[in-house]
């Protein structure tokens, strides 16, 4: 299969629909909150009643520009919407209002990680605004389809790549990056389970060296990043098998079955649909001034890749640590916040990527819900770096207590729980002697040359001291005693 697969080049273009995180719809004031009772977020505009007039949501325009700037696009100054005409019950007006033909953002790119550890810019064709459709439910009745129009009119941006992706893995990386980016700049919550982010993949194959694109198949409504990858994997394999068997690949729209990881045809699209686009006469055009675009640009936070670069180069963090911190914006804000109280960059990164993350996972909470302030975390780090408490005691004993007590500081907890490390030699010697007495056989083995046993003795002292003994001093004392 691999030998065969090597003959072909895979060409993929992705369309990602992101619901904008506004409060109201694109052209009227209905709420877009997820999970409301069916048909309660509707108005005459949403329902397409005659005589109603839409009015564009300024915030949605701002968010579309934000995404465009974050993706290095050219921002169109003169904008208008068009009607895309087609009949479907989830589209009350009989047309979708879209910028399909005149996108607000043109060109641009999104940088993804490549399999060899480098990066590559995936070229975008455009980002345009449009309204979402309602939701059809086909399973409630044998005769009827049930429709909920709460979602109809929700503002979307459609982020369209050039056919510039060449494997399922690249597509996976791309959607991961899009998701991080929209969440980072706050234009979409990125929640794929709730449909805030959806992906359609256009997949084709061609023999290597061929310049014309092969017949494409569109796989619709991929609602998780995993599904994007699996659907493309399946589709590529299916196409290669067809090509090898001498079969003609026909242009189709397909859907993905996540239970079997396969795709199936939902309609053949031999001739293009006739959408009869024309300018939406009910909406005035909008013209973007340089001042407005600049104000949007200023509202953008530092982007993840720029921050990762800064963490590596200005703060000397490893690529891994920096990348871990930059997984989401909340983590970088927590990191930056902690740096206001301690300059131990490396230690702060270790603490956030290590004990803090474990704590969050264990308690199934988000960083935003975490009780430990940046200042408290810095306090723990200072204690450990100052040799007053050892790392494991700090992470297992002090961190959980502090996380529940917003008014305490690490030093107080350490003394209250009697966790401060003992470096006083007299006290330590008693534990060291006790430890050696507890294990006479091991002592003999050590003296016969099994020097690795030192760790065991240190562990025993740690146990006797309940973690308070400073392991460095203990090691020295043990060696003195054993080598006498």
């Amino acid at each position: 299969m691999n030998m065969t697969a090597d003959k072909y080049e895979v060409v993929i273009g992705l369309e990602v629909h992101a619901q904008l995180a506004t409060a109201s719809k694109l052209f009227c004031g209905d709420s877009i909150a997820f999970g409301a009772a069916p048909n309660t977020h509707v108005s005459p505009v949403t329902l397409g009643h005659p005589g109603t007039l839409p009015k564009t949501n300024k915030k949605a325009v701002e968010y579309a520009i934000k995404m465009g700037i974050a993706c290095n696009c050219e921002i169109e100054r003169y904008n208008y919407f068009a009607r895309k005409n087609y009949f479907y019950p989830d589209l009350p007006k009989g047309y979708q209002v879209s910028q399909h033909t005149t996108p607000i953002c043109k060109g641009g790119y999104i940088t993804i990680k490549t399999e060899n550890g480098g990066t590559r810019n995936v070229q975008l064709n455009r980002i345009h605004m449009e309204e979402d459709a309602g939701k059809s439910i086909h399973t409630m009745d044998d005769e009827y389809t049930y429709v909920d129009y709460n979602r109809a009119g929700t503002p979307l941006i459609e982020i369209v790549t050039e056919p510039d992706l060449h494997s399922a893995e690249e597509a996976y990386q791309y959607v991961t990056e899009v998701r991080r980016l929209v969440q980072w700049i706050g234009v979409c919550d990125g929640n794929m389970e709730e449909g805030s982010l959806r992906c359609d993949a256009n997949v084709s194959i061609r023999l290597k060296g061929e310049t014309e694109l092969g017949t494409k198949v569109e796989v619709k409504n991929l609602n998780s990043i995993r599904n994007v990858k699996h659907a493309i994997q399946y589709e590529v394999e299916r196409m290669i098998q067809m090509a090898e068997a001498g079969e003609r690949i026909i242009q189709q729209t397909r859907s993905f079955d996540a239970d079997t990881d396969t795709t199936f045809s939902i309609r053949d699209k031999e001739e293009a649909n006739d959408y009869r686009y024309f300018a939406e006469p009910d909406l005035a055009p909008f013209i973007l001034s340089d001042t407005f675009i600049e104000s949007v640009q200023k509202s953008l936070p530092a982007l993840p890749q720029a921050l990762q670069h800064k963490y590596q180069n200005a703060l000397g963090l490893s690529e891994y640590d920096a990348a871990q911190l930059c997984m989401d914006k909340a983590t970088t804000e927590y990191f930056d916040g902690t740096l206001a109280f301690t300059k131990n960059y490396k230690a702060v990164a270790n603490w956030i990527n290590g004990p803090v993350k474990s704590y969050l996972n264990e308690h199934k909470i988000l960083l935003e819900q975490f009780g430990l302030s940046a200042q408290q975390l810095a306090g723990i780090i200072e204690l450990v770096e100052g040799g007053k408490v050892n790392f494991s005691v700090a992470s297992t004993k002090i961190l959980p207590v502090l996380a529940a007590e917003s008014n305490s500081n690490a030093a107080d907890i350490a003394s209250r729980l009697n966790l401060l490390q003992v470096s006083d030699t007299n006290e330590l010697e008693a534990w060291v002697e006790q430890a050696l007495e507890n294990m006479p056989d091991k002592v003999k083995e050590y003296q016969k040359g099994k020097k690795g046993l030192i760790g065991l003795f240190v562990g025993e002292v740690k146990k006797l001291s309940k973690g308070k003994a400073d392991p460095k001093v203990v090691t020295t004392l043990l060696e003195q005693k054993l080598n006498k």
Binding site: S31, K55, K58, Y146, P281, F286
Partner: protein, 96 residues
């Protein structure tokens, strides 16, 4: 532009309208005369004239992102031909 039967049928399909053959013939002729009438405009030289997309000169009519103006489900369903009082019901559009 010449209007023919296929074009009438295609337009009827796109608009989800059904016509008898007789009606189609009448429509073909009506459409032909309307289009020929409008085509007269094509004789004007419009080189360098931007298309007039909007009748009003207003631009930038935008609204703030505020939730308001929704109606109740009962009101929303007043004119609906079929509902179960929660959802709008339409003839099944997908065959299982």
């Amino acid at each position: 532009m010449e209007v023919n039967k296929t074009m009438v049928e295609n337009l009827a399909h796109l608009s989800r309208l059904h016509f008898t053959d007789e009606e189609k013939n009448a429509l073909e002729q009506d459409l032909q005369s309307i289009i020929s009438f409008v085509e007269k405009l094509g004789e004007v030289d419009t080189t360098g004239v931007q298309p007039l997309q909007h009748m009003s000169t207003e631009v930038n009519v935008l609204r703030d992102d505020i939730v308001q103006g929704s109606i109740t489900r009962e009101e929303a369903m007043l004119n609906a031909p079929a509902t179960d009082k929660t959802f709008f019901k339409v003839p099944k559009v997908i065959k299982k």
